[in-house]
Amino acid sequence: MNIFSLNRKQIKAKPLSSILNIFLFATGVAIISFLFLTTEKIENQLNNNVAGIDLVVGAKGSPLQLILAGIYHIDHPTGNIQYKEALELTKNSLIRQAIPLALGDSYRGFRIVGTDQTYPDLYHGQLKEGMLWKTDFESTIGFKVAEKAGLKIGDSFTGVHGFIEEAGHAHDEHEYIVTGIFEETGTVLDQLILTNIASVWKIHEHHHEHHDDEHIESENAHVTEAEEPHGHPHDQTHADEHEHGHADADADAHEQDHEHAPDSADDKEITLLLIKYTNPMGAITLPRLVNSSTNMQAASPALEINRLYSLMGVGVHTIRLIAGFIIIISAFSIFISLLNSLKERKYELALIRSMGGSRNKLFSLVVMEGISIALIGYLLGLALSRLGMLLVSYYTETNYHYSLQHWFNINDFYFLFVSLIIGLLSALIPAIKAMRTDISKTLSE
């Protein structure tokens, strides 16, 4: 027999109120710990994947959407931009590096990204096997893609239009071949299929021609007005026009046409450009330049992510407050139930003293009960938060290919001390009362 076994027995002696108190405390801890874990992980994911990208240039639309699509590959892109216009922009001396991305297809939910070979360097992607893509329809795939889709070097696959697995039009005509697999980086690179831009163009060229045929039949008027029945000659003329001038009217017509036939090098489209500045001046002038004088929009990841944080922050803050209240209520509940049980237990406490137990022993026995309930509640809460993490991570993994799995947060450690202090404080007054019990009076009652 020792103070721990006594403590265990006194907690077990009133199972209902002990369980209630433990669960109340655990709920508060679980919510707070879960928030710590997820917000830290989400912030890590968001920050790591920015990878030094200063600016994303894409089609006009929501800047946040552009960032989410261009950097995190979560949302749908805002649209496409002219490759030529994008190239013009990259000549700006404030741009140190510009990486083009052509999006649109996916394989089993993993996005196929047409880009150049500098893209993997953003995420320090090292090849695990094989090599980077060299020619059209060669692809280098991320770690998670290889693992989840079961692709090996030399395997071939066909993409589908859109980003949702088993939905959208299949591009059966062209097969990609896996030439390399990246090491795990813990970034968005793990869940991407990289290829060259030309492959993406070729697939959609075919795709669009196919659609053009349909258009001839169904939207005859439109086609004859703006285009010739077959893409090539027509596109050439437009390319010429495009070279000669940037009249607004022309640009409009141009835009309209090219949705149907982006064929020649000058009229190709890409989805967006990832840009790094040569110096901080870029941040001041480039976004304004792009937004005001081109058909494109520039979005800064840092700004948009901050905006996202502040949106998220309100929700997180509210939930944290609620969890805090739950913990305070549970502290009161522990306090009240200890105080109540003192009434029933005053004979026992007096008895313990009359049998030679000192006041300090009595005090520590009551305090220990409060601390134990807080500690058990804390541990249970920690377990519950991990369980919640597992469920949410499973959800994000299947829907977004992002894993939120994250098991340790330094705040949990601080929170252990906070829990113990809460347990101690809620038991303090009852313990002092127990210590001051008039044993003679109690025992002769």
Binding site: A13, A350, S354, S358, L443, S444
Partner: protein, 212 residues
């Protein structure tokens, strides 16, 4: 004087300013027993609590086993009582969430004494409680609780055993038995037994009588 188990001198105690109790002196040699007789409300329990150190007298002297217990500090008094004085209360107070066995164990533990389980089992057997070792106090009869009280009073092998009305709720047969047990346990330990009671049946058994 130091070889006496219990000596009290000129004890005065008051719960409030209006009423003060004065108590007769007691001299009790080791192994000798004495009985404190008096009607209800005359301060028998108070007297026992003073001797046990649960209450502090306004004035007077108490010496148990040569130790002046009034001079002991709270903490020391608790420890001294735990080791040297066994108490049997009028009502059987037990820790409800512990078994009979554990209620004896805790009396040892609180005084930092280790016990062999066999010692406790032996004691339970001698009081005819061995099959109740794992029972909670709420599952035991009045007589069993009475015997468990005796067991707890002697578990730490005290020099002095104080009993407050140990027989008043028992019939003649059980009274006889309980008294027998008490005396036997006290003799085994060579301890002094001090009984406070209004039960006249006990008078014949104790030549050393104090009347309040």
């Amino acid at each position: 004087m130091n070889n006496k188990a219990l000596i009290t001198r000129n004890l005065i105690f008051s719960y409030n300013r209006l009423v003060a109790f004065t108590f007769p002196d007691i001299d009790c040699a080791p192994g000798n027993h004495c009985i404190i007789m008096g009607p209800s409300g005359c301060g028998k329990t108070t007297f026992l609590h003073l001797i046990a150190g649960l209450l502090r007298p306004n004035s007077g002297e108490i010496t148990v086993q040569g130790t002046d217990t009034i001079r002991l500090k709270n903490e020391e008094a608790d420890r001294f009582r735990g080791k040297n004085i066994g108490i049997i209360y009028q009502k059987p107070h037990f820790i409800q969430w512990l078994t009979a066995f554990e209620n004896l164990q805790i009396a040892r533990y609180l005084n930092n004494l280790t016990t062999e389980n066999e010692d406790i089992n032996h004691l339970l057997r001698s009081l005819n409680l061995e099959d109740k070792a794992k029972s909670k106090p709420s599952q035991m009869s009045q007589g069993e609780l009475q015997r468990l009280s005796i067991a707890r009073a002697v578990i730490n092998k005290p020099a002095l055993i104080l009993a407050d009305e140990p027989t008043s709720s028992l019939d003649d047969k059980n009274c006889e038995e309980a008294l027998d047990l008490l005396k036997r346990q006290a003799e085994d330990l060579q301890a002094s037994l001090v009984i406070a009671t209004h039960d006249k049946r006990l008078l014949d058994h104790f030549p050393n009588r104090i009347f309040l």
